[in-house]
């Protein structure tokens, strides 16, 4: 019995960390703009599709297609999201509401675009993260290679982001912009550039999550279909929205809750857990898990 619980926790943690990565993207976006991007999850879908195109269709090496896919999605973030949607809405004095609706419609459009370009049929993801049929066995516990890869990527991402925000000048400028735009611009920070950079970071990180999620969900429009996006929002909310690494913990919580719900209750109500957690945290602890009021 114990080894089943352990195995479930590891699988839940792996997928939870992926929700957490999406949550990090949500947090970075929220910090600099004070907005939530409802087209957020479209970058995960785009990332997975672009990686598939480069790696499988055009036979690029894995690392190259990885970098290209993430860079292209970051460009999508800068030029479409920031350049067209965000700027136009700000110019016309649109508020949160217009941004919510516009990004939601952008998401619908991206899903339709993907269906037009790649077709609606899901593609199997290449087995670069190990075959799910042959897991690693430690005693009686079976661990997917994919879970280990996720752990590796998350560790690298956390170290990289931490270094970027604490040690580099650009990272510090970004944090200054998040704290107070006017003061930052008085200190000589190019606020507009920093906002664009945060769009690129947020979409790029989400693209990474999308590529890592693809072995579980396949390369399909389901990645952009909303529910995974809500899980990303939920993990960001649980982490407190201003704390990117809190989002990882929030994601972990959701992943574990989900996996144990499937294990003990029923798989048909798996997604309800996330929504209940989301509403509970929004109503009861809007400041997140860690901060005090």
């Amino acid at each position: 019995m114990f080894h089943m619980v352990l195995q479930n926790s590891i699988a839940g943690m792996a997928i939870g960390l992926l929700y957490g990565i999406i949550g990090i993207g949500v947090c970075l976006f929220w910090q600099t703009t004070g907005l939530i991007n409802f087209a957020h999850i479209s970058s995960a879908m785009l990332g997975a599709y672009l990686f598939y195109t480069f790696n499988v269709m055009w036979n690029f090496p894995i690392v190259v297609s990885f970098a290209l896919a993430i860079a292209l999605v970051a460009c999508y973030g800068i030029f479409i999201l920031r350049g067209v949607v965000h700027k136009q809405i700000m110019k016309r004095r649109g508020g949160r509401l217009e941004f919510i609706v516009a990004t939601m419609l952008l998401n619908t459009f991206m899903v339709n675009l993907v269906i037009v370009i790649w077709g609606g049929v899901p593609y199997p993801f290449p087995r670069i993260f190990g075959s799910p049929m042959r897991p690693l066995r430690i005693g009686r516990v079976a661990v997917q290679h994919h879970s280990l890869w996720v752990l590796l990527f998350v560790t690298a991402l956390v170290i990289g982001l931490n270094y970027f925000f604490k040690r580099t000048l650009t990272g510090k400028a970004l944090r200054a912009t998040a704290q107070n735009r006017d003061t930052a611009s008085l200190m000589g920070v190019e606020v507009e550039k920093m906002t664009s950079l945060s769009f690129a970071l947020s979409t790029g990180i989400t693209a990474l999550a999308g590529i890592l999620l693809a072995p579980i969900y396949f390369v399909s429009v389901e990645l952009g279909g909303g529910i995974i996006g809500i899980k990303g929002f939920a993990s960001a909310v649980i982490g407190g929205l201003t704390n990117p690494f809190g989002a990882l913990i929030g994601g972990l919580l959701i992943g574990l809750a989900e996996n144990f719900a499937v294990f003990y209750i029923s798989s048909s109500y798996r997604d309800v857990i996330t929504f209940v957690l989301l509403v509970f945290f929004l109503v009861a602890r809007p400041q997140g898990l860690f901060k005090r009021m």
């Binding site: 939530i36 136009q88 919510i100 419609l105 037009v116 109500y269 997604d271 309800v272 989301l278 929004l282």
Partner: protein
Amino acid sequence: MLIALLVVFYPLIIRDSYLVYVMNRSLIHAMIAMGLVTQVGFAGQISLGHAAFYGIGAYTSALTVLRLGFPIWAGFLAAVVLCVLFSIFLSIPSFKLSGFFLSLTTIAFGHIVWVIIVNWHDLTNGPFGIRGVPQLSFFGVQLNNTGYYYLLVATICLLYLFIRRITNSHIGRAFMAMRDDELAAECSGVNTRVYKVLAFGISAGFAGLAGAFYAHLSGFISPESFVFAESAKFVGMAVTGGLRHLLGGIVGAPIVTHLPELFRFPGWETYYMMAASLLILLIVVFMPDGLAPLLERGFNRIFGEGVQKKGGKVNEHLGN
């Protein structure tokens, strides 16, 4: 006058039964969008879960008629009442939350309702849906598409008068005060909780009515019609028409519903959904005020301003 005539004779001019059916669907959507204009545009309480109320309405009416054997009007009544009850429940989080957080809550509500509809096989027959929902009939004559069209136009006119009455009364002023500044509204003696429940209730009631109409119009309902994308579409309709304009819903819904049909040229089958969604996105991004104020201005310029035009305008948008 011309436009009123166009509305009255639309099904007789367009003899294609499918197009009349699409028009009926768009009128049903217009009801939901009208509710959203009241709730989101006037009261400032965003909701991205209206497909849930639409679904609750459709399933309630269908099940009251099919399982319990009540007459159809009782199904309609049950749909509206149940939706209003659910909306009171949903409006509780809105006491504390607003903006993005409220929208996330309503999204979560919509998904939960959808998951329940899919998984509660005994009640809703799960993903297979419910077949054979009876059509409406008056005095023993079953309504066809044209009949439905006139019934829906009449209903929408009534709902429009209802909304106009509400927004011009102290309730509407309280809504707008709450939207613009909640704290200031409370300081001026507006009990925001009551008005929030009211705003949620009105729009949920509209959505429930629309759901009941949909169930009895199409005769078949399945969870497919009540997914989150539909909620997004409803809000998109309200914004396309103009969120802060009384006619927003009536203008937006027919346009958004008909757009994919317009792009349905031969050879374009794969592109029409993409083209339609792109166009709606562009309207929202570049014209956040929506199309209704634009149409109103154009109308006034052509015919001059006058009170007697007010009635005509309602019909113009219906006919487009």
